[in-house]
């Protein structure tokens, strides 16, 4: 199995220090947080070199979940490849579908009807909420707070019920496809969705009281894994990781797609401790707490967008009418690369057509892949107990890292 790591072959033993302090023989420990581990989100292997509790170096080894999705894209038509995009970042399937569909539509010059755009925005934002709930729950679980995880999944059940009513699936939707969405909304779906929004909004404040401002949680995550804004941009971070470092960059505002310019929402970024009375003391811009809290605030903004979209939802076709019968698209001899802002970062799709219905090359740029690369830079000098804190705050899904 090929291991992809930072350098071609990192030699972890090159300065393995068999040090002697006084008359006590101290060695550095090589520890393997192996692919099976309760708190690496998925099959991630990290080899830590530590001096006691303190980590000197960490090298992530990935590739355990590689499924050759990009190669498969070279033998399938775009609408057939949509389910494969689901499985990449399986927690945010709708957003993945949306990204690939947009790329193919840009390549082939397809204009989607407005109702389809609004539906994509609604489902994308609902999936953002669901994805951030998973991230919030599992981060609490990593920190030892077992209960918020179940509260997050209780709320997620409602979102998944909404998704199941619309498209029949709870995780891998393949709902937002090239040209629009596969089905229209069932009767009463809009009211149910509004009910959910009203139910969920106070819950975010409840979770903030339960976990975000909990003193123990703040002590575990504040000041841990600080990524400066310059570093974040240089290492190619995106999504909440980038915004947690104070960089105000969101593709939905900077390069809007699918009609995001119609909606009014804010972009939360990381703020230093003690500012405006919500951020606890000890928090540094760019630490794990900021990255985590950006996600909590993004859930509120997503609710705003969903409410506006439901209010203004136009009638009409949910998909380009021609595609209702035959979804085959002839891709011109051209290439396109388009990025969208997913819950985990910017996910980009590169599609090169060659005149036939099947693309010549499909590449997916995973947000988690680039975000994970900062791990080795950031864990130097922190304790072993901080490693799950950092990885949890980066919020990796290995399906997206390995594809």
């Amino acid at each position: 199995m090929t291991e992809i790591s930072l350098q071609s072959q990192p030699d972890l033993l090159v300065d393995y220090d068999r040090g002697e302090q006084g008359d006590v023989d101290t060695e550095e420990l090589l520890i393997n947080m192996g692919p099976q581990h309760p708190s690496t989100h998925g099959v991630l292997r990290i080899v830590l070199r530590c001096d006691g509790e303190m980590v000197l170096e960490a090298v992530p080894h990935i590739g355990y979940l590689h499924r050759c999705a990009e190669k498969i894209g070279e033998s399938l038509q775009p609408f057939q490849f949509i389910p494969y995009t689901d499985r990449m970042d399986y927690v945010a399937g709708m957003n993945q579908n949306q990204g690939f569909a947009l790329a193919v539509e840009k390549l082939a010059g397809i204009a989607v009807p407005p109702r389809a755009q609004y539906l994509r925005v609604i489902f994308g934002e609902l999936n953002r909420i669901a994805s951030h709930l998973v991230s919030f729950g599992t981060y609490g679980l990593d920190m030892g707070a077992f209960t918020p995880f179940l509260y997050a999944f209780r709320e997620r059940e409602m979102v998944l019920d909404l998704f199941e009513a619309a498209c029949g699936a709870r995780l891998t939707y393949s709902y937002l496809t090239v040209g629009g969405t596969t089905h229209d909304l069932p009767e009463g779906w809009v009211d149910r969705c509004l009910e959910f929004c009203d139910y969920f909004e106070p819950k975010i404040d409840e979770y903030n009281d339960l976990l975000s401002f909990n003193h123990i949680f703040v002590k575990r995550t504040a000041g841990v894994g600080v990524v400066s804004a310059g570093d974040a941009v240089r290492w190619g971070l995106s999504g909440p990781c980038l915004r947690g470092s104070g960089v105000r960059w969101d593709l939905r505002k900077a390069l809007p797609y699918d009609g995001y310019e119609r909606f009014d929402f804010d972009i939360p970024i990381g703020r230093p401790g003690g500012s405006d009375r919500t951020v606890p003391h000890g928090v540094v811009v760019g630490d794990s707490w900021c990255r985590y809290f950006v996600r909590m605030e993004e859930m509120k903004q997503s609710l705003r967008i969903v409410r506006q979209a439901l209010r203004d939802l136009p009638g009409g076709d949910h998909i380009v009418p021609k595609f209702k019968k035959n979804k085959t698209v002839k891709l011109p001899d051209d290439e396109v690369y388009l990025e969208v802002d997913n819950p985990r970062g910017q996910v980009g799709f590169y599609v090169r057509g060659d005149g036939s219905a099947i693309p010549a090359r499909v590449k997916a740029r995973g947000g988690s892949f680039c975000n994970l690369s900062i791990t080795s830079h950031v864990v130097r000098g922190c304790l072993i107990a901080d490693v799950p804190a950092i990885i949890g705050s980066i919020d990796v899904v290995m399906g997206e890292v390995d594809r």
């Binding site: 707070a145 077992f146 909990n214 123990i216």
Partner: protein, 466 residues
């Protein structure tokens, strides 16, 4: 659970021989007898409660018998008491494991165990015990053969032996030890050895990490724990746990926790340090840490792991029992013992007095209440990192405990309990304590009434088949 797997006739059967055949036959017999009981819901709950009530009555009769007759037959008395204690010590983890899962479920807006045994999954613990017994006897290749097998017994035996000195009532103690408190603390301290043995003998870097963290944590927190426990000892003037309990027999306000503000805070300090000593959340670094899988007991499975688990729950009971005896009135109820003397002297009067004014019932109720608080904290709070744990111990708990010790010494010196000022403070603290208890009750009642809105429908509506 409404149906059982019915095996078909020609299925491949394992062939047992010798002792295994005997055990398999016994197991099959037990299954045939127990399955109908477990299967029918309406049958199971009365059986369960009937067993509990019969057990309590049996123990009560033994107590009367013990007091009246067995004083002359020490060996027989010892045998009876040891049997009773062994049964109790086995039942505490069995009950607590089920209860913990129910408490966890309720707090997480779900139902907890519901299926094994019909009524709210009461048979889950015995079923888990049987499962652990039948698991493969797994010892890692690199593990130290003797220490690996020895460690679970080093964990369980000391906490069970601590019951030798732990009184459940004035005469409900195996041995009246004049140094009872030190004995119990010493036994709790032997657990550290077991943890280090388990971690080291498992021959894995992760387990060694867990063991070293645990050793650090437990040993460090023993110091503020011991200092906090010195305060009630100083107040009553003896290490004998039975006498400390008897000193609190005058009603709610005579409980040692309300005697002075220093004792009030010392109870809190003791409770927190005992959480660390039991490795319960938020101090459960050594065991439940997400990056250590299981900490020192990662490599253990089956009955060995179950013994570590048992040791944890029995230790929880022991430290709660210590807190109850030393701070919260022991086996005395909230009513003063004097009020019980109006009842007279017959058997019935003695029984009523025993139930209402003292006796193991109140002791058990209070201990299990403290265990509930421990579970409550576990499912609410995140975990603390090891350096923060040690910081909290050495830089917060230890100075606080020393200040409390000094303050209480001076309090006892200058404000003996006969002075009006001391009595006033006593009453104020007792009122505060009663207020806190009533506030907790109010919160519980309000949340039960509003369960659907607060917790969600999944924890309130039982799904069909539950």
């Amino acid at each position: 659970m409404t149906r059982f797997w019915t095996p078909w006739e020609g299925r491949p059967r394992p062939h047992y021989s010798g002792l295994s055949a005997l055990l398999a036959g016994l197991g099959r017999g037990v299954y045939r007898v127990a399955a109908p009981v477990v299967r029918h819901r309406w049958f199971a709950a009365p059986v369960f409660f009937g067993v509990v009530v019969l057990g309590v009555v049996f123990v009560w009769l033994c107590g009367l018998f013990n007091e009246a007759v067995l004083a002359d037959y020490p060996v027989l008395r010892d045998l009876l008491v040891v049997t009773g204690l062994a049964i109790f010590v086995s039942l505490v983890p069995v009950f607590c494991i089920w209860w913990e899962r129910k408490v966890a479920g309720r707090m997480q807006s779900r139902c907890g165990v519901m299926r094994v045994g019909g009524w709210h999954g009461w048979a889950q613990s015995p079923a888990d015990g049987i499962k652990c017994l039948t698991k493969e006897d797994l010892v890692p290749d690199d593990a130290d053969p003797v220490l690996f097998r020895l460690a679970p017994y080093f964990a369980l035996t000391p906490v069970v032996v601590a019951f030798v000195a732990l009184p459940f009532g004035t005469y409900w103690v195996f041995r009246h030890l004049e140094v009872g408190l030190i004995f119990v603390l010493g036994m709790l301290g032997v657990e550290v050895v077991a943890v280090i043995m388990a971690g080291w003998a498992s021959a894995s870097k992760w387990t060694v990490f867990g063991a070293m963290r645990e050793a650090c944590q437990m040993v460090s927190y023993e110091i503020p724990l011991g200092i906090a426990l010195l305060l009630p000892v100083m107040t009553v003037g003896t290490l004998n746990l039975a006498e400390i309990g008897n000193a609190q027999a005058g009603g709610w306000h005579t409980w040692l926790v309300f005697r002075s503000p220093f004792l009030f805070v010392a109870a809190l300090v003791y409770f927190i340090t005992s959480l660390a000593s039991c490795k319960r959340a938020p101090f459960d670094l050594p065991e439940g840490e997400s990056e250590l899988v299981g900490g020192y007991h990662t490599e253990y499975s089956g009955m060995r792991w179950a013994l570590f688990f048992f040791a944890e729950y029995v230790a929880m009971f022991v430290v709660s029992a210590l807190a109850v005896i030393l701070f919260f009135g022991g086996w005395n109820s909230v009513l003063p013992d004097r009020w019980g003397e109006v009842l007279g002297d017959g058997y019935l009067a003695r029984a009523v007095r025993g139930v209402v004014f003292g006796g193991p019932l109140w002791f058990l109720v209070k201990s299990f209440l403290l265990i509930y608080v421990q579970m409550w904290l576990r499912w609410t709070l995140p975990r603390i990192r090891i350096d923060q744990v040690l910081y909290a111990c050495v830089q917060v708990m230890l100075p606080l405990a020393m200040v409390l010790l000094l303050g209480h010494t001076l309090w006892e010196l200058w404000l003996p309990p006969e002075l009006i000022a001391a009595r006033v403070v006593n009453v104020i603290l007792a009122v505060i304590g009663a207020g806190l208890l009533l506030a907790a009750l109010a919160v519980i009642i309000r949340s039960r009434l509003n369960a659907r809105r607060l917790v969600g429908y999944l924890a309130v509506d039982l799904l069909p088949g539950a």
